[in-house]
Amino acid sequence: MRPLEGLVVLEFCQFLAGPSAGLKLADLGARVIKIERPLKGEACRQLSIKDLFVDESSLLFHTINRNKESFAADLKNPDDVALVKKLIAKADVMTHNFRSGVMEKIGLTYQDALAINPKIIYGMVTGYGSKGPWARKPGQDLLVQSLSGLTWLSGRKSQGPVPFGLSVADIMCGNHLVQGVLTALLKRAKTGKGVLVEVSLLESVLDIQFEAITSYLNDGGIIQERGDVEGSAHAFLSAPYGVYKTKDSFIALAMGDLLFIGELLGLDFSAYQDKQTWFIKRDEIRTLLSEKLLTENTPHWLKLLGDKGVWCGEVLDYTTLDALDFAMPLKQQIKLEDTELTTTRCPIQLDREILTSEKSAPKVGEHNKILLNFLND
């Protein structure tokens, strides 16, 4: 039995942060119903990457919204709002990421929802919290990354700010919303009362920097610089930590005993007996490592180092990754009317069971009829 079986989640969220949380809750067993405007539906349906569409909706939408139902309702129309309120009365959880003021206008704030359903769990996603001068700023991933200090952690110093190449603030915020909603369910199980859960993109992306920020706060406010040579992979870690070019491709070297690694590679690291130099002189050390590693192919180094227990590995791309045996059980097929698509699955296993679901993303309003019957039950 999936842990959230029997729970009903109403998702008013759009784009990535909120809907990725809805997807996780669905995979954990909840019945997730997207509340969408009629015809056009959620905005993400028209947001595509590389112009890839599955039906009328983008592949992106299908990736984030599989395993959900759709109820089309015009939140500006009182009749539709009345129906949505009936759904709220039957739901356990509702989530939204509207800007402040929108739910007030519709009459579906937390207080409004509580009046309809005193046991409702109400999840809110914002960009920067609901107070202060940034509360009205657009909650967009790249902007949040840029404001949060995150862009100074990757790459090399001379590259300037380097953002993470995917929507890390959205995704972490979605993860935190799931944690918050599940915690709220536990709280409600004890108190029998509704719960308000709030997360923001900014707090979520600051949370993943907890180590770096704590170092900054306790190190006299020093901004840690990234290294500026090949191999630099982390502003706070010593050599050899990094990714290096080899004769045929690349190799990743995690933290390890530099002197031992030097010995294996035939490099004279006698100048670095003192471990502190591994950090202070990391650029110099990385340059020596780079020169050496360029002289042979990756498999040669992996054998030489890996056999001796040094933490090292290949740098794959999607093609080489997909060719490996272990990639297969990580995918799943989603069936649609006249086609099929391959996507990833829930990363959590429960009682040794992989949580998959063949159910595709819904068409706008696909479940109105079923849900109207559900309301009359």
């Binding site: 890839l52 700023k137 890390v168 990714v243 990743a252 698509l341």
Partner: protein, 379 residues
């Protein structure tokens, strides 16, 4: 009362992935007891980053292990194992991130713990799953980033692989474990049954890339191509990226090119009436050259009122001075038992309007032994 106040978590995990999950549960109210090896403890205690030692131990350890207790016990000794089992019998959650096989060998597998605590929620994080060809490989963040192709999404086209500069896969696996544990605790609360929750860094890294991997699978296996300059997402067109200005940087997340040309007074941009994906390198080059001519604030003053999604690019020092950051109250001060205090971040989740802080710093190795023995073992 904090929402998880009655829950007892016994945590064998080390480093970052597992301990980040138990930190979240601790902040939400659970009591977390770290089980550590006498003498050395969690290896993370001596894992120094940036050479920063705080009160004799690594800054990383203090960051991830505040708000927890420490019980030092050598459970490889049979008598000690029996003592420990008395504690495990009362736990709601038992969790670890040892490599597959380790807990089985010491007699603390899920089945072993379930035998003494039938409703236990047992969580584990591995690098590559409990089975499969990679199960004994080290589950280390940079190696996982490299293996799962994450490094080809950051930086510019010619940069080679660029890892994300923090232990993102550890943190994702920790976040997913916390989710799995909470979901299982909910099922336990409603159905009185325990659970085995398993996550792996490999699956977490895939989940993180669900959009791009799904694109790869359904796009004839096309690999992501980063832009030649100012890349922020291999799959997005211009202007998405960060640009240098006369005195700093500007992040630009969207905008019709002709509109931008007008607003920014950039004649050359008018060559691109249509924002074709294939032209993104050219467009970015033109934009980059133009944005260098004025200071960041100059551009923000023009773009923000026009509702173009843009922002400054800050470092920690600059961020901490902003009112928008200060109102979050995101920094808290915690104190260790010996009085050493330090500043760190707080839990990012707010429940019923309450932010979760706790003054409790990280534990010294074995500092809570006496109390735990009295409460759970000699009773």
């Amino acid at each position: 009362m904090k929402p998880l106040e009655d829950y007892l978590i016994v945590d064998f995990s080390q480093f970052l992935s597992g301990p980040s999950a138990s930190l979240r549960l601790a902040d939400l109210g659970a009591r977390v007891i770290k089980i550590e090896k006498p003498g050395t403890g969690d290896i993370c205690r001596t894992l120094y980053t940036s050479d920063l030692i705080m009160n004799g131990e690594s800054s990383v350890f203090h960051t991830i292990n505040r708000n927890k207790e420490s019980f030092a016990i050598d459970f490889k000794q049979p008598e000690e194992l029996e003592k420990l089992k008395k504690l495990l019998a009362k736990a709601d959650v038992v969790m670890h991130n040892f490599r597959p096989g380790v807990m089985e060998r010491v007699g603390l597998s899920y089945e072993d713990v379930k035998a003494i605590n039938p409703q236990v929620v047992y969580g584990e994080i591995s690098g590559f799953g409990a089975n499969g060809p990679m199960k004994s490989m080290p589950g280390q963040d940079l190696l996982l980033q490299s293996l799962t192709a994450l490094t080809w999404l950051n930086g510019n086209e010619e940069d080679g692989p660029v890892p994300m500069g923090l232990s993102i896969v550890d943190m994702l696996a920790g976040a997913h474990l916390a989710q799995g544990l909470l979901a299982a605790l909910y099922r336990k609360a409603t159905h009185q049954i325990g659970a085995l929750v398993q996550v792996s860094m490999l699956e977490s890294a895939f989940d993180f890339q669900f959009e791009t991997i799904t694109t790869f699978y359904n796009d004839g296996g096309e690999l992501p191509v980063r832009t030649k300059s100012n890349n922020a997402n291999a799959y997005l067109g211009a202007p998405y990226g960060i640009y240098q200005t006369k005195n700093g940087y500007l992040a630009l997340a969207m905008g019709e090119i002709p509109v931008l040309a007008q607003l920014l007074k950039c004649e050359e941009l008018k060559r691109f009436p249509e924002n074709k994906f294939e032209l993104r390198d050219e467009i970015k080059t033109v934009l980059a050259k133009h944005l260098k001519t004025q200071e960041t604030q100059h551009w923000l003053n023009i773009l923000e009122p026009a509702d173009i999604w843009c922002s400054n690019v800050l470092n920690y020092q600059q961020l901490f001075e902003q009112e928008g950051f200060k109102v979050l109250d995101f920094i808290q001060e915690v104190a260790m038992e010996d009085g050493y205090s330090y500043k760190t971040t707080r839990c990012p989740i707010k429940i019923d309007g309450e932010i979760f802080t706790s003054q409790k710093g990280s534990p010294k190795l074995g500092q809570d032994n006496e109390r735990i023995i009295k409460e759970f073992i000699d009773c």
